[in-house]
Subunit: 373 residues, 2 copies
């Protein structure tokens, strides 16, 4: 992997770059759509490529449970198995395993720290995490080594070391302990990776919650090791302001010559806020999830297609949009399909929202090139 | 509409023809996929056209309730509303209204005639049927005139007169009464149509259940009127044998110079049996419904994709299949998508099954042209 800096904005920390991978170039800043099980929900991978998505995120945790490492390895890796010709990034499984333990990020934030480890996670030790498969009840031990070995079988262009996702509600001494263990796990992950680099790149995951001191310590620790890029993980705060403050404070400690990624955040206002901070890639399932709930993205914000005003709007979602949905179908038809609960509605809306994100990121890059951001 | 006979097989009653419509040619014999709400389940209409489906069936009953006549009329008709450039056929709504009354065909066949009119149908009279909308509880009167007027708003290439669908379990004198009323309704439908033909064709629906005498009477009555084609409707029997016996006996009374259609039947063995009897078009939702249940059609019969033997089959559903699913994805990937309950699975499977049906009908036409059927 090679990161090529094309332009550093004169107006902000925003930058335009190209990440060269074995499966092609990712222009940055860019949006990374989430295809948990090796597919975006409702859009097949050929269509995803046609829409122009340059990097797709798949989840190791889900793929480990279904179809399993062996099926993907024998297929010749994830690209072949899912028929994706462009770059893929996989995570380590850590995020999902710890979500099992503490509940989803949103639920944990709401819980005020009362949520405790539930029955699916059986043990967390220095070795790794033992959990129970929700599919067949079998016990699975996920360690830095086994996560990386799985990601070797999958063969994504970019992989992520195994890390702990501590909850937002955590005492500082516990967060420090977690951070130290995460660093040990990440370095074990890196060492496992380096035995068989396989043309893959590995991004470190910077942790430390919303504690500026710990975030800085995490960046300074991890940059001492030959990671190919840096992801910002863990809890990024309860509010957008908290996130922006944390990233602004952390950013100077992330090596500029390497690409960086903000994990799990890519809503429109976060993009507006974080692109000027110099974040290169952002992943989120939100644009496709919103689509399935009938929220269609436009330059003027999301519209709710099931509102009665759209029943007779015989025009595309956006008049100048070149996506297959807008080229062929009207708001009135989409409104009808949603009301009739047709599967086709979910696909057409997802296509538009994904295309919107690709177009939006292209316009961010144009603006940076012109020093407008 | 014009029906052009291309070839009459020397071996059977099978024939190859072309139905010329305002939106293009339907090569016969052919399969007609059901897109109840103006879309096939899980496949958008541009893809449906690319797959090669020459005639699509939409349901007046469903479209009347959602989005309603006005929305479709103001869109400029169904073709424009749903963005279909090729021919469409709509039914009268009668089938669904009477299914409400007597239960679905399958349930009624099983019921031994004990199922009675339920609460949604409020009144059946000489005028038409009064029923309650399942969407908003409003009362709707469907008559021969209002059904045809709705079908004028929709603007399908082929429309169907309003008919009564008597149950399989019915005494002969009641079936005779129903048949007489159906004929009166069909002629009222025809007269409404003829006031504003609008480039549309109207097919009569021959009734009479599995009573050869009544079927013959129905055909002889209806052929006296200027219908453009003839559909075989109502109960066609409890077994395939009963259906074949009925169609074989009825067929000589259906005008040969006009196209005919078998309503609601297009499973593989019925096609094998009925193409040689000279049936031109067949509609069914079964190929797409089967797809959504993981049954993939092949030359060697349907396969159940969730069976464990497919988890590592790194090859397409059919090696020589040119459908987008087989061109890009393997059985192993489809098996994974079905097990992971991904929406994409339903779309990819539906595409294959629809393409299979189009290819199958093409091969029937080839065989007839060679007098092999």
């Amino acid at each position: 992997m090679k990161f090529e800096l094309i332009h550093q904005s004169k107006k902000s920390k925003a930058r335009v770059g190209k990440i060269h991978t074995p499966h092609g170039i990712i222009n940055t800043p860019n949006f990374v759509a989430v295809g948990t099980n090796g597919t975006l929900k409702g859009i097949d991978n050929v269509t995803v490529t046609q829409i122009g998505l340059e990097l797709m995120f798949c989840n190791t945790y889900h793929l480990l449970l279904q179809p399993g490492r062996e099926v993907v390895r024998e297929a010749g890796g994830l690209h072949k198995f899912i028929h994706r010709t462009l770059p893929i990034i996989t995570d380590s499984g850590g995020f999902q395993v710890f979500s099992l333990a503490y509940g989803s990020v949103a639920n944990e934030l709401k819980s005020k720290g009362t949520k405790k480890i539930d029955g699916q996670v059986l043990d967390i030790s220095e070795d790794g995490v033992l959990f129970r498969s929700y599919r067949d009840g079998s016990k699975i031990l996920l360690t830095p080594e086994s996560s990386i070995e799985a990601q070797k079988d999958f063969g994504a262009d970019i992989i992520i070391p195994f890390d702990e996702l501590p909850p937002y509600h955590i005492e500082k001494h516990l967060l420090k302990e977690s951070l130290a263990r995460t660093h040990r796990w990440e370095i074990r992950s890196l060492n496992t990776h380096l035995k068989n680099p396989n043309g893959q790149a590995i991004y470190a995951v910077i942790h430390g919650g919303v504690d500026d001191e710990l975030r800085k310590e995490s960046a300074l620790t991890l940059r001492e090791h030959p990671f190919d890029g840096f992801a910002i993980g863990g809890s990024v705060g309860k509010t957008k302001e908290e996130m922006i403050t944390m990233i602004s404070s952390l950013k100077p400690y992330i090596p500029e010559e390497k690409p960086n990624h903000l994990l799990g955040i890519a809503d429109l206002s976060s993009l507006e806020a974080c692109v000027p901070l110099g974040i290169d890639t952002f992943d989120a399932s939100y644009p496709t999830k919103a689509a399935r709930h009938g929220a269609l993205l436009t330059k003027n914000g999301a519209i709710k297609i099931t509102k009665s005003i759209y029943a007779k709007k015989y025009e595309p979602i956006e008049k100048d949009c070149t996506c297959p949905t807008c080229q062929n179908y009207t708001l009135a038809y989409l409104s009808h399909l949603f009301k009739a609960k047709e599967l086709t509605a979910l696909t057409l809306a997802s296509i538009h929202n994904l295309h919107f994100m690709c177009k939006l990121m292209h316009s961010f890059r144009e603006k940076i090139l012109n020093d407008e951001i």
